[in-house]
């Protein structure tokens, strides 16, 4: 008889608990710190920039906003107006608008207004403020005044550790050999990594099996 999984799951949403800090503990500490100083996190794709920014929103009880600039090509710069009324404004994908004067003016205005109203600002991009090609020096210098933190890509040992942390949090034991087996087949970004553990958890519960290599191979249809 197969056991039906209960519909109770750990949140897979972007919250701090779902992020494995590993080598990026300083950046995570900075984002979590509630420091009023503006902060800028940067790193390659899939290092968890969006996750951290959204986690900061989720951890803020007062109104906040997360704005991914790369996703919404039709959003005009004026969509940042009034954000200085929020407790926290998180702006992602700054590299997507670098060099566009209207966007930079909007960011410059937001930066000044936020400094005055006490709104906390978190920025994320693929590069540091100094490395992006801005068109408005006034904005460039303000961006450069942020506390800048890099998010590094996890190496293999860290990916295994992240995976086992997530499994452990779900009450699962992920043997090292299984983790190593999965290593070459795992995606690099943390969210996908955690989703993989969630899938395995459900499969293990239904099949009443431990996460052995043969079981994982069958559960994930890996050849």
């Amino acid at each position: 008889m197969r056991q039906l999984p209960l519909g109770v799951q750990l949140r897979t949403a972007a919250v701090f608990d779902n992020y494995y800090p590993g080598p990026n503990f300083e950046a995570v500490a900075a984002v979590r710190s509630q420091s009023p100083a503006p902060q800028w996190i940067w790193g390659a794709a899939a290092t968890g920039k969006s996750h951290l920014l959204q986690s900061a929103c989720a951890a803020t009880a007062a109104p906040s906003a997360y704005v991914p600039l790369a996703l919404d090509g039709c959003m005009p710069p004026e969509a940042l107006e009034g954000f200085e009324q929020l407790a926290l404004a998180c702006i992602d994908d700054l590299d997507a608008i670098a060099g566009q004067p209207r966007w930079e003016r909007a960011l410059f205005a937001l930066f000044n207004a936020a400094a005055e109203s006490g709104t906390r600002l978190l920025f994320a991009a693929r590069a540091t403020p100094a490395a992006l090609r801005w068109s408005l020096p006034d904005w460039a210098s303000r961006a450069a005044s942020c506390g800048v933190y890099q998010l590094r890509v996890l190496d293999d040992a860290e990916r295994i550790e992240a995976l086992r942390m997530r499994a452990n949090r779900r009450g699962l034991e992920l043997p090292l050999e299984t983790a190593e087996y999965l290593l070459k087949r795992m995606p690099r970004d943390q969210q996908a990594l955690f989703d993989l553990v969630d899938t395995l958890d459900e499969a293990a519960l239904v099949a009443q099996r431990r996460l052995t290599v043969p079981f994982v191979r069958a559960a994930l249809n890996l050849v």
Binding site: E26, A30, Q54, G82, P137
Partner: protein, 445 residues
């Protein structure tokens, strides 16, 4: 009650909407229950439009289902629960609009932390500081207007606030306003829309001192220039003080009316230059002291030597070191600072490329990088091009032919000629010498 009703809605919406949509469009809303209605206040009209199209129907359903049998309608609008910190007509706020001129709040809060005491003086800014102190001691009489110009992050805004704070110490009742010029433009547009332009004019013209920042943002905005021109004249005639900042000398601002440029020069025009090393160190020590952080001098020298482009960048680096020290509980030592800043410094070193030199030189002379690479030979382009070539030779390991290539495929002899020409000119033309040193400081520290 409204919070709990809205919080219940939020929980459902969070589980139903894709996470990014929820974080972008729903989280910014503020809820307010009034007259049996649930008011949802959005920061701007784009949030309102998105919600109208995508979620308002569902929000209405949820409010009805959670409404304890009470029929509540949902009103979605742009606004804020708290009165805006400072604005001329509160166009987007739910709070009542100011009716009388004296109720109009102009510009932004004057920052009490920017004073003359914590303005670090060096050769690069001592004239501007001295002039600002004179103006603060004799507003409307010493130098009117005072025009402070220079690059970004060099302390122009700090000086303005310091003047305002000092005037307030002498005359607590003085009516002062610090306004960014973009804010002036925005507030004027709103005043026109809301037919409160007369209140706007009266409020500005009855000030004892107007401090207006970054006037280069007036460029190309004729209507705002016109209004500012009249405000400016009225203030000057009444011996009320006007202080302006700009990123360049008034005559060099394109898109600004000649009559304004000429009037801006009636008082005193002073420059702030990029700080020299010792001033950078003093700035870091001062900022660390303000943050109650013990910063050893050797660490300040280490940071200042490597990050010298402007004060804000110094501040960012210091911020990083201080934060790391707090996270780890370790004291700030030279080794600690090197470790905390290793990523930034590695990038900083990489930044001294021919490409970056071209970008920095183009920004400095207010021309385009494309001009530097073009065939144009007018002096306004050719001289910056020669400066950029000479800097590339001095700051990078590229050969003369490589530098020539990077400047639109020029011959190596052109680069040689440029280097020699700039070397000679630096000795005989003070301006070129200063430009070169400023650029060198910006690029390499």
């Amino acid at each position: 009650m409204s919070e709990s009703l809205w919080n219940r809605c939020l929980r459902v919406l969070e589980s139903e909407l894709p996470e990014r949509q929820f974080n972008t469009w729903v989280r910014p809303l503020q809820a307010l229950e009034r007259d049996g209605e649930l008011h949802l206040l959005a920061p701007n009209r784009y949030v309102v439009e998105w919600l109208n199209q995508n979620s308002l129907a569902r929000i209405n359903e949820l409010v009805s289902s959670f409404g304890d049998g009470l029929a509540r309608s949902v009103v979605l609008d742009v606004g804020t629960r708290a009165p805006p910190v400072a604005s001329v007509p509160a166009s987007v706020a739910v709070t009542p609009k100011p009716k009388r001129a004296e109720a109009v709040v102009l510009g932004s809060r004057i920052n009490p932390e920017f004073t003359f005491d914590n303005f670090v003086e060096g050769k690069s800014n001592q004239l501007a500081k001295a002039a600002a102190i004179q103006v603060a001691d004799n507003p409307g009489k010493a130098y009117n207007p005072l025009f402070i110009y220079g690059g970004v992050g060099l302390g122009k805004t700090h000086l303005m606030h310091a003047v305002a704070n000092k005037i307030k110490t002498h005359s607590p009742g003085a009516r002062l306003a610090y306004v960014h010029s973009e804010r002036f433009v925005g507030d004027m547009v709103r005043a026109l829309q809301h037919r409160t332009i007369n209140e706007f004019k009266t409020a500005y013209r009855s000030l004892d001192a107007l401090l207006i920042d970054d006037i280069q943002f007036f460029a190309g905005k004729e209507g705002s220039q016109e209004e500012f021109f009249h405000t400016f004249n009225a203030l000057l005639e009444g011996q009320q003080q006007v202080i302006m900042t700009c990123d360049r000398y008034p005559k060099e601002v394109d898109g600004l009316e000649e009559r304004l440029k000429s009037r801006f020069g009636w008082g005193l025009t002073v420059a702030v230059e990029p700080p020299e090393l010792e001033t950078c160190v003093a700035i870091l020590m001062s900022k660390a002291a303000m943050a109650h952080t013990d910063l050893p001098e050797e660490v300040a020298f280490f940071i200042a030597k490597r990050i010298r482009s402007n004060v804000r960048e110094l501040e960012g680096a210091l911020r990083r070191v201080v934060a790391n020290s707090h996270f780890t509980g370790r004291p700030i030592t030279l080794e600690f600072a090197k470790d905390a800043l290793k990523d930034l410094l590695a990038l900083q070193e990489k930044l001294v490329t021919v490409e970056n030199i071209q970008k920095t030189v183009a920004e400095y002379y207010k021309i385009r990088v494309a001009d530097l690479l073009s065939k144009r030979r007018s002096r306004s382009i050719a001289r910056p091009r020669q400066v950029a070539m000479a800097l590339a030779k001095e700051l990078t390991n590229h050969s003369l032919p490589e530098i020539g290539d990077a400047f639109g495929g020029r011959d190596h002899t052109t680069v040689m000629h440029a280097c020699k020409r700039i070397k000679d000119l630096r000795e005989v033309e003070r301006r070129i010498g200063e430009d070169y040193m400023n650029l060198l400081r910006t690029l390499a520290g």
